[in-house]
Amino acid sequence: MRLVERAREGDDVAFTDLVDLDGDRCYAIAYRILRDVERAQDAVQQAFLLAWRELPRLRDPERFDVWLHRLLVNACYEELRRYRRWSTRIRSLPVDGPGTPDTTLSVEDRDTLDRAFVRLTPEHRSVFVLHHHAGLPLAEIADVVGVPVGTVKSRLHYATRTLRAAIVADSQVDTVEARLA
């Protein structure tokens, strides 16, 4: 909390330390919401610069993490809106490769989930990622995205079910194809 307090007083070295501490986590979240490395980098940059600008308004330094997550999610929403406006449907792959490539995940699974995920609304995506990737409790997610916890549950339910359904549907197609072969 000391870093936050110092940064709030205008100490840019302290804020740089905060970027070092929280940057990776924010980037991982942003990438999973946006599924695009460059837009994720833009969203993280936007969120941190906004955090620096608005930090003196943060009354309680202990809420810094929740507050930063909120800025990050809003930056991701903005990126998604811009992406839709200039939609080119070009998918950018991680330049440094996947962080933890999972050999058990087939190309078809990955493609199926990617397609199902981009059909979710930004609000459903963010709740899903904050819960299943960042591990935030639902009450904290409600605080981050600014909706009641029931809405968070409802969105999480829908998103999880949509993605699960995509896999199940895909495997049913596989089974039918295997039978026909």
Partner: protein
């Protein structure tokens, strides 16, 4: 051929993929941009005193200071007990959880108390249901088929979503509900409605599914299909069906009371 088909395992693996480290150039770009971004509401911007103060302003400032000191003094001397002295609401420090690759894996099930459903919620969707005193209800105003087109009854451990829609004339009811379910809440966990076990809610026959960490019933009454989905988002409940049945026992289906927009 050895690809695992457990949907949650696949989801978890997919979610774990992706970059984990913020590129150095982005980190540098943030740091380099800091001097050009002015912080807002810096206290250091406020001058210690305004250079031009009239006598009236001085008098007003003096009165304000006396008033503030007086109020602060009274608050300080007042005993800090009693019904009016609520404890200060200091938010709990937020621990930042590490991304967990096993988030999708469900923890072991627990048994939750069977709720006491003493209050009634009347929905514009043409049904009423009992709810517990500590539960909240979020009514939908979205049309059926959209992600949020459900009433949500929320407790700390579970969520019950309810929605309804008119069944068009001449359709195969099972197929139509299946399609609508797939459209509105996709997946249906691979179950074919016609093959699901029977359930009766408020004297009306329907089908029920208990899989994928949720219990879902679809019931037809008065030409209207009702969907009840009971979901345990964080902790699976060993007695989830029992709790669902407790809710179902309080349901009254009243298709004639649906508010049409």
């Amino acid at each position: 051929m050895n690809t695992p088909r457990d949907p949650d395992e696949i989801l978890s693996a997919w979610l774990d993929e992706g970059p984990a480290r913020l590129p150095d150039q982005t980190r540098r770009a943030i740091v380099v941009a800091l001097p050009s971004v002015t912080q807002r509401w810096r206290l250091s911007w406020v001058p210690w005193r305004f250079p031009l103060m009239t006598n009236t302003m001085r008098a007003a400032a003096g009165i304000a200071i006396v008033a503030i000191v007086g109020v602060a003094g009274l608050n300080f001397l007042r005993p800090a007990v009693g019904p009016g002295s609520a404890p200060s609401q200091t938010p709990t420090p937020t621990a930042t959880p590490e991304p967990s690759p096993t988030q999708m894996a469900q923890p072991s099930a627990i048994a939750a108390p069977i709720p006491s459903l003493t209050e009634t919620f009347d929905s514009a969707n043409g049904y009423s249901i009992g709810i517990g005193a500590s539960m909240t209800v979020e009514k939908t105003d979205a049309p059926w088929g959209l992600p949020d087109a459900f009433d949500a009854i929320v407790s700390s451990l579970y969520l019950l979503r309810v929605g309804s829609d008119v069944i068009p004339d001449g359709v195969d009811v099972d197929a139509w509900i299946q399609t609508r379910l797939t459209q509105g809440t996709p997946g249906n966990c691979g179950a074919i409605r016609a093959e699901l076990p029977e359930v009766v809610i408020d004297g009306h026959a329907g089908k029920i599914r208990d899989s994928c960490g949720e219990i879902e019933a679809t019931v037809v009454a008065g030409g209207r299909a009702y969907l009840f989905t009971f979901w345990m988002p964080e902790v699976p409940l060993a007695n989830g069906r029992e709790i669902f049945d407790a809710f179902a026992a309080t349901v009254q289906l009243r298709p004639e009371d649906v508010l049409t927009p």
